[in-house]
């Protein structure tokens, strides 16, 4: 029980820390997607 519960809890906490402290995507919010040549047709 301790191994199973400990392992999944540890993994979850590690992942959360990585996500919350990871690189930020400055263009993520309300950004304008750069239009590439191959996307031109469908836009």
């Amino acid at each position: 029980m301790l191994i199973s519960v400990g392992a999944v809890t540890g993994l979850f906490v590690w992942c959360l820390i990585k996500v919350l402290t990871g690189k930020k995507n400055p263009e993520h919010l309300a950004h304008i997607e750069p239009v590439e040549t191959k996307d031109l047709d469908r836009r």
Partner: protein
């Protein structure tokens, strides 16, 4: 002409919460504990098989689905048929994604009904309506009355069960109508932390139960934990195919892989967004809720109050018969019972919302409908399916028929298709590179081999075993195999002492009609995409 603002996630944590919300469902808190506690196929052997299955099937397919989804999004597609159309680039490619539309919508037919039970039970528990004394039969009768278990059509009308169903059905569509970030993401961003907070409160309550009845010292929460988690005979368990089948199936169903949901959710990511850490985090969140919370709450509490016999009745029995009785026996039980069913409701609604989005995405991009039109059409289709499930409630026959053919067989099939498309149509080398585009962490290299060879082989074997056991009725013995048709098959074709069920046949016919209707829509969508 105005340009429509494309739907999308507002934050990285938002999409992780949404995928985790999709994965965390009733199975985390009701099905998983029952499987671990099973005397024949549970214990340490089950957990070893479970974690191995997580590593060689669950996590790899999860990454595959995230990767294919994001790729499909960059090609301008958000639904499984569209994404497979973009990947396979053959006229038949779009039909490979058929199940990615049928499965989530089909599962919604019955999942939203169960979701309404959870809300109804939460309400009844908070208001004291579930305090039915110590007679187990009273709880079974209450469940039967709430679900219409005894007769078809029993819950239709202006009674509470039907009103809860209508309310929950409408609520889902109101949220989905608000869009991805204002609807699903908003609900999951609030719902998932709330779910974990409620689970932690219940966990503390359960772990401090001690010995509820001093005259029965053998029934304590600690002996309940031991009953559930003691390893038993591991080597004997691991040589039992049933253990592997149950463990792999649970991993498959709990992570929502092969559902058509993750691929759609990931398609709304941007080209440089991470999928590796996001996929791992959503998986870890689900495992934390399942093993760390679900595995510690329900079975130990039921054991402490009612003993081993109480935990052997299956998912619905544990959730809706046994646990109300357990909560009724503890101080402030109506409060804790209400919190527990609220937790189940949150787990269910974050999942049911995810079942609607693949349908919305397909109707929008395949038929060119706007959000209002796609919500209306999907609402109509699901209303027909749900009415079938709600009306034919006797013995939950319609519900179990849809669950078996769509929720079991369909998901396995779609998961197998996904991994083969990734390896052989998309290309495993290209897929590996695509997965790491913009990734915050690297996938350990061993997984390249696992995804290429181990996952498809293991999944194919497990799928074959699943079909042999649940369709052909194999007794899982290699030395003296016996094949006896199972209930879902006998319901359709009949057999000695088991007449065919008209409801099961009608439900199967409806599912075939729905599949044919979906294929027609995909055909029409294909013309639209080709013209584009």
């Amino acid at each position: 002409m105005t340009t429509k603002q494309p739907d999308g996630w507002s934050s990285k944590l938002g999409v992780i919460m949404a995928v985790a919300g999709s994965a965390v469902g009733l199975g985390n808190f009701l099905r998983f504990p029952g499987l671990v506690a099973d005397k024949e196929t549970g214990g340490g052997a089950f957990l070893i098989a479970y974690f191995i299955s997580l590593l060689i099937v669950g996590l790899p397919i999860c990454w595959v689905e995230w990767t294919l989804g994001r790729f499909g999004g960059t090609q301008g597609f958000n639904s499984s048929p569209g994404i497979f159309h973009a990947i396979i680039k053959k006229p038949w490619g779009k039909y490979v994604g058929l199940l990615g539309f049928i499965i989530p919508v089909g599962v919604y037919f019955y999942y939203v009904v169960i979701e309404s039970w959870c809300l109804g039970y939460a309400w009844n528990s908070f208001t004291g309506g579930l305090d039915l004394g110590k007679d187990p039969k009273a709880y079974a009768d209450a469940f039967s009355a709430f679900t219409g278990l005894k007769a078809d059509g029993a819950v239709l009308g202006l009674g509470a069960p039907f009103l809860f169903f209508i309310g929950v059905f409408i609520l889902n569509f109101v949220i989905i109508y608000r869009g991805l970030s204002k609807g699903i993401e908003f609900i999951c961003n609030w719902g998932m932390p709330l779910l974990i907070a409620i689970a932690l409160i219940l966990l503390v309550r359960v772990l401090t139960l001690g010995t509820p009845d001093p005259t029965k010292p053998e029934l304590s929460v600690w002996s309940g934990l031991g009953y559930m988690w003691n390893p038993h005979d591991i080597s004997k368990g691991l040589s039992n195919p049933a253990v592997w089948l149950k463990a792999a199936s649970q991993i498959f169903f709990t992570l929502s892989v092969g559902f058509g949901v993750i691929i759609t959710y990931a398609s709304y990511l941007k080209k440089n967004d991470d999928v590796v850490l996001s996929g791992l985090t959503a998986t870890a969140a689900n495992e934390f809720c399942e093993v760390g919370l679900g595995g510690m709450i329900t079975v130990p509490a039921a054991f402490a109050f009612l003993g081993a016999s109480a935990v052997a009745g299956g998912t619905f029995a544990l959730g809706f018969n046994v646990l109300p009785q357990v909560f009724a026996g503890m101080p402030y039980g109506h409060l804790f019972g209400g919190l527990f069913f609220t937790l189940l409701f949150i787990a269910a609604i974050t999942s049911s919302l995810s079942m609607l989005q693949p349908g919305i995405a397909f109707l929008e991009e395949g038929l060119g409908l706007d959000r209002r039109g796609s919500v209306a059409l999907l609402g109509l289709v699901t209303a027909v399916g749900c009415t079938l499930v709600v009306y034919f409630s006797e013995g939950l026959k319609a519900l179990s028929t849809v669950d078996f053919w769509i929720g079991d067989i369909g998901i396995f099939l779609q998961g197998t298709i996904l991994i083969f498309v990734f390896n052989f149509a998309f290309g495993s080398e290209r897929g590996w590179t695509e997965a790491h585009h913009g990734a915050d962490i690297r996938i350990p290299r061993i997984f390249k081999f696992v995804i290429r060879w181990i996952s498809p082989t293991f999944l194919s074997v497990i799928f074959l075993m699943f079909v042999l056991k649940n369709v052909a009725g194999w007794n899982l013995s290699f030395s003296s195999p016996v094949f006896t048709p199972t209930d879902p098959i006998l319901d359709l074709i009949g057999g000695p002492g088991h007449p065919a069920s008209g409801v099961a046949r009608l439900t199967a016919f409806f599912l075939l009609l729905f599949a044919a209707f979906s294929a027609l829509m995909i055909h029409r969508a294909g013309k639209r995409w080709d013209a584009r």
